[in-house]
């Protein structure tokens, strides 16, 4: 948030095309923005505006067609990625799913287990360490996914509509929990969402994307004070910002 430091992420004139047989589909066109260290940025926009594609490019899953992405330090960051579906390994228990990133980094199993246990408690899943994913509710599964995305201390947290598959009440609660986690960890976060109120409650800044090909049509700071709570939804400031975003989406 302090403009004096270098950006954590600098996206410059990024375009992404997908070849679809003979035709070409332009998912993102000339997208330019910056994200500062420890900033929480929400990407808002209609379906098909390339928000998820942008996350996939940042995670190195999709190559950019044009343009450039610069990361702080010049190296690709360590990434924590949360998918719309929890995307857990069904053959691993809750604890084993959470410790996966550490195992891949070569952390000794005992140490990985110890850290995963701490995360189980942090996301409120004590007692479910050895449960199988098939026995978890949608909200619990997404908590496991969140812990898995954070356990290896990522530089950049990418959330692709992490609560999109949950019911409205669970979704609100998960939003508050994410806020508390972020408050404690202060990661740089990019989160795709369809929910205006979710974006306003969580983000320092909201980027609104236009329909295909996706472009940043509005870059709006959210000057609401922190720490934020659900009560904020019913304040006048919140409602004004929500209307502004709604109009920008079109």
């Amino acid at each position: 948030m302090s403009v004096a430091t270098a950006p954590a992420l600098d996206v410059v004139h990024l375009s992404v095309n997908f070849e679809n047989g003979s035709s070409e589909l332009q998912a993102l066109e000339d997208v330019t923005f910056q994200v500062w260290p420890q900033e929480f940025v929400c990407l808002l926009g209609p379906s098909g505006s390339g928000k998820s594609t942008l996350l996939r490019v940042l995670a190195g899953l999709v190559p950019p067609t044009q343009g450039e992405i610069r990361f702080a330090g010049g190296q690709p960051p360590r990434i924590g990625y949360v998918f719309q579906q929890a995307n857990l390994m069904p053959w691993r228990t809750v604890l084993e799913n959470i410790m996966l990133p550490l195992e891949l980094q070569g952390v000794p199993p005992e140490e990985a287990r110890r850290q995963a246990q701490a995360w189980v408690e942090r996301v409120g899943l004590s007692g479910f360490e050895s449960a199988w994913p098939r026995d978890l509710s949608g909200g619990m599964a997404q908590r496991v996914a969140m812990a898995r995305a954070l356990i290896h201390d990522p530089d950049l947290l990418l959330l692709d509509e992490p609560f999109g598959a949950l019911d409205a009440l669970t979704r609100e609660r998960m939003g508050s929990e994410l806020l508390a986690l972020w408050q404690a960890q202060r990661k740089t976060v990019l989160m795709v969402t369809h929910s205006i109120s979710e974006a306003l409650l969580l983000a320092d800044r909201v980027l609104v994307f236009s329909p295909r090909p996706g472009r940043v049509s509005l870059d709006m700071p959210v000057p609401l004070p922190r720490p934020r709570s659900d009560e904020l939804r019913y304040t006048l400031d919140f409602i004004h910002l929500a209307r502004e975003l709604r109009q920008a989406i079109g």
């Binding site: 899953l61 990625y81 998918f83 995307n87 390994m89 053959w91 996966l100």
Partner: protein, 271 residues
């Protein structure tokens, strides 16, 4: 009002709790043996057509006592073991490559499908001509017959690895080897073990077919001897031993599935 779906009160009285599945199996076997004995007695069949259960039992005792059953069983077991191992290892290796390389699949896929049009049983004589009546030809037939089901299931299994989990491994910068170990192997294990279950039973068939075509050892050879000497009881002994062998192998794979796939839950949970 009487409903047919529910047992009537008087039926419950005749169904004590200890009558579990195991007891039913024993009862069913006893019944089969009884029917068999009945057929032999009523039809006055000579032993070289259909020996009685008692005669088969005595022949079994004889074959155990003179060590011939153990010797021939061991031979067949070796052929099955080595053939199964070779077939499974090759099929798994090639199956993985095929699943991960579209080019390779286009190149050799058609041959693999075409090769399945050749009944393995029909080329068994050829293999015995080429590789002799010893163990090698049996091991090859065994490996050949096991190969395809394991290959197909491995290909389908590796293809079925969820795309999002692949993406996850990529974001965590997993190496090729880590992706194999932490994702591809566990994810394709259910289908692979399904293929192994089919392969295990087929492997016994492969070994016996080879032995029947030409050999001087093994349970298939024992069947040939029994047939030649009108010792039909011996044919029964060898056949039952083969059945036991196949069932034990099948059971071992089931045990393996039960041990490795606990995360799937019991099938009952899904219904």
């Amino acid at each position: 009002m009487i409903t047919l779906a529910k047992p009537l009160p008087w039926m419950k009285k005749f169904r004590p709790r200890w009558l579990t599945q195991g007891v039913w199996t024993v009862l069913s076997l006893l019944l089969a043996v009884g029917v068999w004995e009945g057929i032999v007695r009523l039809a006055h069949l000579p032993p070289f057509i259909l020996p009685s259960p008692g005669q088969v039992g005595r022949r079994l005792g004889l074959a155990i006592a003179d060590g011939s059953l153990a010797r021939h069983t061991l031979t067949t077991l070796q052929e099955v073991g080595i053939g199964l191992l070779i077939g499974v290892v090759l099929a798994t290796f090639l199956g993985y490559l095929l699943a991960r390389s579209p080019l390779l699949e286009r190149l050799i896929g058609p041959y693999l499908v075409a090769s399945q049009a050749i009944p393995t049983v029909a080329i068994a004589p050829l293999l015995v001509i080429w590789f002799g009546p010893g163990m090698l030809s049996k091991v090859l037939i065994c490996a050949l017959i096991v190969f395809f089901p394991v290959l197909v299931n491995t290909v389908v299994g590796v293809r079925a690895v969820p795309r999002d989990l692949r993406a996850l491994m990529h974001t965590l910068r997993a190496t090729r080897w880590q992706t194999l170990r932490y994702l591809e192997i566990p994810a394709s294990l259910p289908l692979f073990l399904g293929g192994l279950r089919i392969g295990a039973t087929l492997s016994v068939i492969g070994a016996v077919v080879g032995e029947l075509v030409g050999s001087n050892r093994g349970l298939g050879f024992l069947i040939n001897v029994g047939r030649g000497q009108y010792d039909t009881a011996l044919v029964f002994v060898a056949t039952f031993t083969l059945m036991t062998l196949a069932l034990v192998l099948y059971g071992l794979v089931l045990l393996l599935e039960w041990r490795l796939l606990r995360w799937q839950g019991s099938p009952r949970d899904h219904h």
